[in-house]
């Protein structure tokens, strides 16, 4: 997902070669402003125009009846898979929300200081900057064992506050979260 090697430019290699060759041709020997610059840009713009608007549209593959059937079953199977995935997620979230709501209502009945502080929350509530978004492949430099969190800096945003809620572990996500409705402000 975040594998940088999988990023491909929108231009195919043949078109890039074409562009590279014309750029080499149109570079002036001496830097004369004005007309020469206009000349360079003209050629590149013509090529870009050609790429954008005059390349032939890719033809759709011609499929036989059997091929079409196969294609459609695969399409339907994929959509079904996605649909099931979506439903699972929704059910999980709905269950969690129900638990959250019930816990909050129970806390309200108790009428305690905890409930009042849970209502207010923090003014700047954001995810911490140090949070790592998981990737499909490990980083090239490996794990940094000698990492030290940055010292408190007045110019840094308040979001790097350690008391902020940390992202939940996807493995432990199956448990309901009744205690998390107590948003106790630091």
């Amino acid at each position: 997902m975040t594998n940088h090697f999988s990023y491909r430019s929108a231009l195919s290699t043949s078109i890039r070669g074409l562009l590279a060759r014309t750029v080499k041709k149109s570079k002036p020997k001496s830097e004369i402003p004005g007309s020469q610059n206009a000349n360079i840009t003209d050629t590149r713009y013509q090529i870009i125009k050609r790429i954008l608007y005059e390349t032939p549209k890719p033809e759709l593959p011609k499929m036989t009846e059997q091929d079409l059937e196969k294609h459609e079953t695969i399409d339907r199977a994929w959509k079904l898979f996605l649909r099931n995935q979506q439903e699972e997620r929704e059910n999980e979230l709905a269950a969690k929300y129900r638990m959250l709501n019930e816990a909050n209502l129970e806390l309200e009945k108790l009428g305690s200081r905890l409930f009042n502080s849970a209502q207010i929350g923090n003014k700047i509530m954001m995810f911490p900057r140090q949070m790592k978004i998981p990737t499909e492949t490990p980083p090239l430099n490996g794990w940094n064992y000698d990492y030290k969190p940055p010292s408190s800096d007045p110019t840094k945003p308040l979001s790097s506050d350690p008391t902020k809620p940390l992202p939940s572990d996807p493995i432990k996500d199956s448990e309901p979260l009744p205690s998390d409705s107590n948003k106790v402000s630091s």
Partner: protein, 245 residues
């Protein structure tokens, strides 16, 4: 990125953006509030049979009526809907071909073909006439949106010079947050870095994150989850006050 959102961010966001019924009700009422109109005569609209199909009256003091959010549930968790990337090219005023560079650049970044934006009014000072092609925009959603966001967060934003983060006051009061990039940022994208010579004109562009959040606060929360940095104002005085709602 999308999987990350579904597995980790959504549950956390649900908990963080949970409001107990009282404060939720207050917020909905605030959004539903009908401000006083400019002309007092409009207040007798209900009794006046001639006023049936007239347009709604304008509020006093230029107050906006923001959309009313639905009752909160597991379905109202803030989510990134789409990203709009827009590029205004001043050089297109004197020669239209400069637009092509912008179109190509946006296409390379976002993998979608951008549409041309025409001017709505004319400004004589800049020699701009009405309905003149002056920029290009592209709207991406779904997997291409998440790859674009990935590129931004991992490659472009860390390498930008003299950029400390989106100001914490940014947002359209309805959860959509926008940011602008200088022309130098365009060269940091891996798709453009490879073919840098092919682009005759390097333009700056702006990126608008459309979220399903109904407040700036929630929108910022969502985007910070995607690791987009925000900087608070140094002075927390009147101007630096953060509006939670």
């Amino acid at each position: 990125m999308e999987d990350f959102y579904h597995s980790t961010l959504s549950t956390d966001l649900m908990i963080l953006s949970y409001k107990d019924p009282e404060s939720e009700q207050k917020f909905i009422e605030k959004r539903q509030k009908e401000h006083l109109p400019i002309k007092k005569s409009v207040l007798t609209r209900d009794t006046n049979p001639f006023a049936i199909n007239r347009p709604p009256p304008k509020p006093r003091g230029n107050k906006k009526r923001l959309p009313v959010p639905p009752k909160q549930s597991h379905k109202t968790i803030p989510k990134l809907l789409k990203i709009d990337v827009h590029c205004m090219i001043k050089e297109a005023i004197h020669s239209k071909q400069h637009l092509l560079s912008g179109i190509m650049a946006l296409q390379c970044i976002t993998s979608e073909r951008p549409t041309v934006v025409y001017s709505k009014t004319g400004v004589a000072q800049w020699k701009l006439r009405k309905d003149m092609p002056i920029g290009c925009k592209v709207s991406i959603s779904g997997p291409p949106m998440y790859t674009f966001l990935d590129k931004l967060v991992e490659i472009v934003l860390p390498r930008m010079k003299e950029w400390h983060g989106i100001p914490i006051t940014s947002g359209d009061q309805n959860g959509n947050i926008a940011m602008g990039f200088p022309a130098s940022a365009l060269s940091l994208f891996p798709d453009i870095e490879g073919n840098y010579d092919m682009f005759p004109l390097m333009t700056g562009f702006d990126v608008i994150f459309n979220t399903t959040a109904y407040t700036d606060y929630e929108g910022r929360m969502l985007l910070s989850g995607f690791q987009i940095p925000f900087t608070p104002r140094k002075k927390m005085g009147r101007k630096g006050r953060i509006n939670r709602n």
